[in-house]
Structures are given as C-alpha cells and as structure tokens.
C-alpha cells in the first residue's frame, strides 16, 4: 500500500469518486490520470541582482507537469532568490517567468506551495491550528490537519504549540502544509534540512505521489532528493 493512501482518504468522497472514475477511464486507455491542470512553468533568461551584485543571469528552464527539478549550486548562488522570484517576493532583474498552458491567467504564487527556510508556523499556536490556518488561507482544501499530521508522523503532536517542537518536527509540520491544500506547484527550499533519514524517505514518498498526480516540484537542495528521474538546474559554476 502506498503512503499516499492516507492522503487520498482525506479528499472529500465526491472528489475521490471522481478520481477513481478518472483512473478507470485513463487506465483503460493506458494513460495516467492527472489531478492538476496541465500547465508548465517557463523561466526565460532570468537575472538576479542583490545589493547591486549580479547573482545569476541567463537562467532558463522549463518545469512541466509531473516533473521534478533539483536546484543546485553553492551557498549564495541564488537558489533561494530564484524561489523568492518564482513566488513573487522578488522582482526579476531581467528575463521573465511565465505559466504556459490552460492556466494562463493564474499567478504562480497562487497555485504553488512554498516551504522555505522559515517554516511559516506561529509558535504560540498548536500544530493543528497552524495547519488549519494554512488550509483556510491557501484554499483548495485537501487533507484535514489531523490527517496531514498523521502522514508526516506527527499525529501525536497535534495539540502541542509549534514552539515546543524540534526543528525537524517543525519542518515536518511545514511540509504537512503541502497536503492540507492541493496546489500543483511545490517550491521547496532545502526541504530535507533538519529531517532524519526516515522523514527524508517520507518526504521523497510525498514528492513521488505529487508527481504521479501531475504536480510539479522545484526543490533547492544540496543532497539527493531521493527522486528518480528528477532534472537538475545548476546555478552558477
């Protein structure tokens, strides 16, 4: 049984039926069903300047549905800056970022999950409250907070204020956000940092399931992501 079952159990019954129906139709035609709209992300000739210093330029790549890209590069190469640009926090200093396909109008920030260095958790609120907040704010609700916490192995910590959790546990709560709201793009900045080996495998499993659903992942990383067939974009030398 795949790890994703817990996640799909969380999807409302009608959506699950719809998906089963989709799987049946696609299966008979030998196709793989996609949960998401087939849009691709085009980064064209992007340049980044921080504090007057050129960080990178001429960066181009395409991220297609069902694909993962590992973003590598030495410290300070601009990996986090690139992710900040993709989610609209930084303005590109050249080139452009556009979404192709049917979802032309959508802003990337509004259809992507960001899990960055900062976990986005309020320390005074419990893990469950933090996830419930993310679910309401991000929309497209999928798993409930409790189900998502169970998937990342923190079912027992739902009632604990996030401030009491360890760095690895906080990171796992932040990653559980990926499950409470369904968004096609995952922008992950060092998703595996602070995680133990078992949790790293769990995250790799979540990423594989997301790719199988037709989602796309861009992950800045120094180590291996644990994904077969992930592309690599290297920034800098």
């Amino acid at each position: 049984m795949r790890r994703s079952r817990g996640f799909y159990r969380a999807i409302p019954r009608s959506a699950l039926d719809e998906r089963n129906e989709l799987e049946r139709i696609c299966g008979s035609a030998g196709l793989k069903p996609a949960l998401f709209q087939p849009t691709s992300l085009h980064v064209e000739d992007l340049a980044c300047r921080r504090g007057g210093r050129l960080i990178f330029e001429g960066l181009s790549f395409v991220l297609r549905p069902g694909e993962a890209i590992a973003l590598t590069g030495r410290n300070g190469a601009g990996k986090s800056s690139l992710i900040a640009m993709l989610c609209g926090r930084l303005r590109p200093d050249g080139g452009r970022i556009r979404l192709g396909g049917s979802d032309d109008e959508a802003e990337l920030a509004e259809i992507s999950h960001l899990v960055g260095h900062r976990d986005g958790l309020k320390t005074a609120l419990t893990a469950r409250e933090n996830l419930a907040f993310a679910r309401d704010v991000l929309g497209d609700a999928a798993a409930t907070p409790d189900e998502a916490l169970a998937v990342v192995g923190l079912g027992h910590a739902a009632e604990l204020p996030a401030g009491y959790l360890s760095a690895g546990q906080r990171r796992r709560v932040a990653l559980a956000r990926l499950l409470v709201s369904r968004r096609p793009y995952w922008l992950l900045d060092e998703p595996l940092s602070a995680l133990d080996v078992a949790s790293q495998a769990m995250v790799a499993g979540l990423m594989r399931d997301h790719l199988a659903d037709g989602g796309a992942i861009l992950a800045a990383t120094h180590g291996p992501l644990g994904l077969e067939g992930a592309g690599e974009v290297r920034i800098g030398p």
């Binding site: 609209g88 986005g120 907040f133 704010v137 991000l138 204020p161």
Partner: protein, 222 residues
C-alpha cells in the same frame, strides 16, 4: 475568500490572546501611564479633571503604538507572511483582517477600560461616555495608520522604534479631534458633535488609506 479573511482574523486574535502574544501589553502600558500621571502632577483634582481626557487619549495613543512594530514583522520573520501572500485573498483584505484583529486586541480593550482609569484622573461623570465613544471611533484610525507604518518596517530586522517615529506625526489629527471631542463633553468651547464627526471621518479614511498603503508596502517589500 471569506474563509481566508476569517482565518487571518481568528489566528491573530488567538496569537494575541496566548501567552506572550502582546495582547495585554498595551493594556498594562495604558494602566501604568495613567496611574503615574497623578503622581507627577500632584493631587490637584481640578487640574487633573481638566486635562484628564488628554491624558487618557495620549495614553491610549502610545499604548496602541508600542506593539505596532510586530504587526507584520512577526509574520515576516516566521514566514507566515509568505503564506498570506500565496493566498487568493487580495493583500488589502489580509491587511484589513490583521488591522481589525489589532484593533480588537488593543484599541477596543483600551476604550473599554478607560472609564475605570477615568476615576484616577478625576474625570467628571458626564465626560465618561463621550470619552469611551471617542476612543471607540478614534482607535481604529490609530491601528490602521499604524498598519501602514508597520508594513514599511516589516522587512527591517531591527525596525522597532522606526514605526512609532513614522506613525506618530500621522496620528496628530486623531489626537486633536479625539481630545477636543472628549473635552467638549466636560465643558469645552466647541460642541461635542463637530470634532466627533471629524474623528469618525478620519477613522474611516484611515481604514481605507492605511489598508491600501500597507498592502502596497508589503508587495514591494524587497
């Protein structure tokens, strides 16, 4: 969209009410300041009751301002501002929710305890209700003018003092009309309603301008 708005409002209220959230900080500061003033001025009841509304208003203004720098900064630091930015909810409405939560946890309690503190500055009985009314309609202006300043300082690491410095000059009209309306009720030269209505107008204007300004500042944070 309504769900996201309510989620932000609910979360900020919850954070403010938990330990260390800063919800009670403004109240304690208000109390401290108003308690200290009679000690500084001496036991001259006539003097105290004459300047009472001004003391209470000044105390409320400073109390609202002390926690203001954390309004967006704490969200920026822990990354939850990125979550709010990633929401389909327009940033203006997110600011509105946060400003509303700020007012509910600072301005509203300040206005509600002001009759009690009025006793300390010998505020005459007929001045109590008008004072509460002016604080009720005036403090939203402080929260939302403050939101604009707080948004500018959101990405500054140590921007603590810059917010009051930025915001205080902008709150002068609120202070003037708030105090003159509260004074009018205890025997001022102008009728109560004129400054009170201007105060209402300032508040309504501040809610709109402050919300839009804060959203613009947050969008161009870097």
């Amino acid at each position: 969209m309504k769900r996201a708005f309510m989620a932000i409002l609910k979360r900020d209220l919850a954070v403010a009410s938990r330990a260390g959230g800063g919800g009670e900080l403004a109240l304690v500061f208000f109390l401290t300041m108003v308690v200290l003033v009679p000690f500084a001025l001496g036991p001259d009841l006539n003097l105290l009751s004459r300047i009472g509304p001004a003391i209470l208003w000044l105390g409320a203004l400073l109390s609202v301002m002390i926690g203001l720098d954390r309004l967006f900064q704490s969200d920026e630091e822990d990354g939850s501002l990125d979550l709010i930015r990633a929401s389909a909810l327009p940033l203006e409405l997110a600011v509105l929710a946060k400003g509303l939560a700020h007012w509910l946890t600072t301005g509203l309690p300040l206005a509600l305890v002001s009759p009690l503190l009025g006793l300390l500055v010998a505020l005459p009985g007929e001045g109590v209700l008008p004072l509460v009314a002016t604080l009720l309609v005036g403090t939203p202006a402080l929260s939302f003018i403050g939101a604009g300043g707080a948004a500018l300082a959101a990405s500054l690491k140590r921007g603590g003092l810059i917010v009051p410095v930025l915001v205080a000059p902008l709150t002068v009209p609120v202070l003037i009309f708030g105090v003159s309306a509260a004074n009018a009720a205890v025997g001022g030269t102008v009728p109560f309603l004129t400054p009170f209505l201007i105060l209402c107008a300032i508040s309504l204007g501040a809610i709109v301008v402050g919300t839009v300004a804060a959203a613009v500042a947050l969008r161009s944070a870097e």
